[in-house]
Amino acid sequence: MTAATEAPARPAPARASRLAPSLSFLRLLRIELRHNAMPWLLPLIAALFWFDSYRPSTGMPPLYVLRTFWNMGQGHTIIDFGPFVAGVAAWMGSRDGRRRTADLVTGTAWPRWTVQLATWAATAIWAVAAYLVFTGAMFAAYAGQGVQGQPPWWWVAVGAAAIAAFSAAGFAVGVLWPSRFAAPLAAFGGFLAMVMSSQTGFHESTGWALILPTTSNGNFQPDSGLLYPWLPDLPIARIMLLAGIAVAALGLVGLRAHGDGPRLRRLAAAVTAAGIAAAGTAVGLAGTARLSADGTVIPALHDAASDRPFGYTPVCGQAAGTPVCVHPAYRRWLPDVTAALGPVFSEVAGLSGAPVRAAQVGAVYDDVDGEGGQAMTIGGRPPVLSLPLGALQLAGAFGGTAAVFADQLRLLAVHAFVGAGTGVGTPAQQAVQAALLEGAGVPFAAQLLVLTTTGLPSWAQASGNGGPGPAKGPVYDAARRLAALPAAARHAWLAAHLAALRSGRLTLAQLP
């Protein structure tokens, strides 16, 4: 050590400028960022992100709503990050306890709570920045692959808020239980929370459960970002919940900060209460959510401007001479659609109400039909067949094949033609539907199987009697009789009875 004579003379106390506290905080943050444990885990999270979030998504068709359904909609990006972030944050939060620096820090001018917030902020900055970089890289890869539509930015914001909430909650665990076991405990707790959130999301598709960040119910609409914007209502509520959790956790940290005095404790208690109130409000808001045509609407948060559909110039093809137009993002499926609808249009050509055009419409999530199933309709003068393609099981999406996609198109087109609407239809309508499908290339033997495929409205399951089996019974007997007629005779019979059939007045016995 240097001798006392070399000790500096007592300097005059310097007056700190107004900017000094923020500058000091930034310098403190720089030191904390340099010594944070989060970067050590980033390679592991990156590997998990690649295998769990990115790789499975590449098997989906190149539409953002489908590509990101697993990683953003069902929250796998959050699941990949959350437990690790909670663990690291707990490790950092328990640092003063583990390293026995609590007295040193408490005896300084800064409130201990502020110092702890700097440590947390460094952890959160690393985690959220990594989340945004990884997600950004994934979206950049998607853009390079020509993925169509608008990326779900609101869901990225939800993910970032979730990571911040995990870091705050984990940090609070570390502060409240400053032991080396705090980190594994927080990581396991985070994992458990994710599992429970996912499971609840699968079972509860309405009400408060919509607030859970790992459930895709309601807001990952079939055509979100394609035909209409991503609705921000539910993301805003979820961000509110997650921010509330983060604030409440950080308030708890302040409650535990010994040596800061009663005033700061009271402030910490108020912050905790505010966080809990925000989270509770968010859960309450989710309870008021209802499904609209384009997503989940929370009346208190809804802006009608978000309902405005996107304008677009369709791309068109021909199906048996009938124009078929779809959104440009669905261009790759246009040949499948025209090939599937061609035989149906040929069957009904010239009949009253036969569509002169088919045009894509936005798929609508119907909580009665569930699973995104939606019927086609024929309306307008001249009649136009509406195609809710986003609601069908597109080839390549969720294991769907081109054959199933074609069969579904035919089934829905014929169902609309016989006037069965959104119900099962009368026995006569079912029989005519089956006969037309047979004529359009879906044999009777295969029809019950088609009716049970995923992506169809609930009436399909009901008319399929709950599962595939032999096509028999009075409906199929009548259908077989109608199908056995020569094409011209069948056409003539349909022309004569179509109005009665559609109005539901025709009985099975009246079929030829």
């Binding site: 310098r27 026995r100 620096t101 040193l104």
Partner: protein, 260 residues
């Protein structure tokens, strides 16, 4: 007076760690002696504002640390080295000292020079970039001293500051203490009476939470003269004599109370 304690007590459950200590100290080096468990560390922690007293009055740098504003002012002008120095192993010496300089609310522009000066003063300039985990026990102690003195404190509280230092470092450290004591109040809690003799202008002895002696080192030496108290050096004999007298008085009091 930079330190003013009136009937200060601190209880942990049924244990009286500090039992009614009254003390005043101005600029100078103040030695706090006592056996293990005497209450020195608890007293220092209360003076460092990290442990609130159970009762009594505590004024530091002419302020009441019980209120938020004054406590913050005190902490800006306080240096504290705890007995068990906690540290962040991944920090370099410079980062560790800078970290606490910032927490002590030093103007950011002054921090780099103050950090370098403090590290220089404790003789760690050549290890300034070394991570704390690579330092020996003595060097860590010096890094701890550097963080305590970085803000040129008016009240410096050092709990066993020379533990782990080699003789050469201890001699140099005492010189640093004397220099600081010219304008600040330096309270040094120690087991090593030679530190007190070499550096302190004032000394107090604690036993069982109570202050049993307060005076100059010369007065403490005088207490040991002519007694058969144990000790190799005059100050040690004084220390032992005061302790023996205090314990004997306490024993007599206890016996009297029992008889009564």
């Amino acid at each position: 007076m930079n330190v003013e304690l009136i009937d200060l007590t601190r209880r942990f459950g049924r244990t009286h760690a500090v039992a009614g200590v009254s003390l005043q100290a101005g600029p100078g080096v103040f030695g706090l002696l006592g056996p293990n468990g005497a209450g020195k560390t608890s007293l220092l922690r209360m003076m460092a504002t990290v442990l609130p007293p159970t009762s009594g009055r505590l004024r530091l740098l002419e302020r009441d640390p019980g209120s938020l504003g004054p406590r913050r002012v005190i902490r800006r002008r306080l240096g504290y080295l705890p007995q068990n120095l906690g540290y962040y192993p991944g920090f370099t010496v410079t980062e560790f000292v800078e970290y606490f300089a910032l927490l002590k609310d030093m103007p950011p522009g002054r921090v780099p020079r103050a950090v370098a000066a403090a590290i220089e003063q404790v003789g760690l300039a050549d290890r300034a970039k070394a991570k704390l985990r690579t330092l020996s026990g003595g060097m860590l102690r010096r890094a701890g001293i550097a963080q305590a003195i970085v803000n040129d404190p008016e009240l410096l509280l050092l709990d066993e500051p020379t533990a782990g230092l080699d003789p050469e470092q201890r001699v140099a450290f005492r010189a640093v203490l004397r220099g600081l004591g010219e304008w600040a109040t330096v309270v040094v809690s120690t087991h090593l009476v030679e530190d007190v003799g070499a550096a302190c202008t004032d000394v107090a002895l604690m036993d069982a939470g109570k202050l049993v002696f307060h005076g100059t080192p010369a007065e403490l030496i005088a207490r040991g003269e002519g007694s058969r108290a144990a000790g190799d050096a005059p100050l040690e004999r004084g220390y032992s004599a005061v302790l023996a007298a205090a314990r004997s008085a306490a024993g007599t009091r206890s016996a009297t109370e029992t008889r009564a």
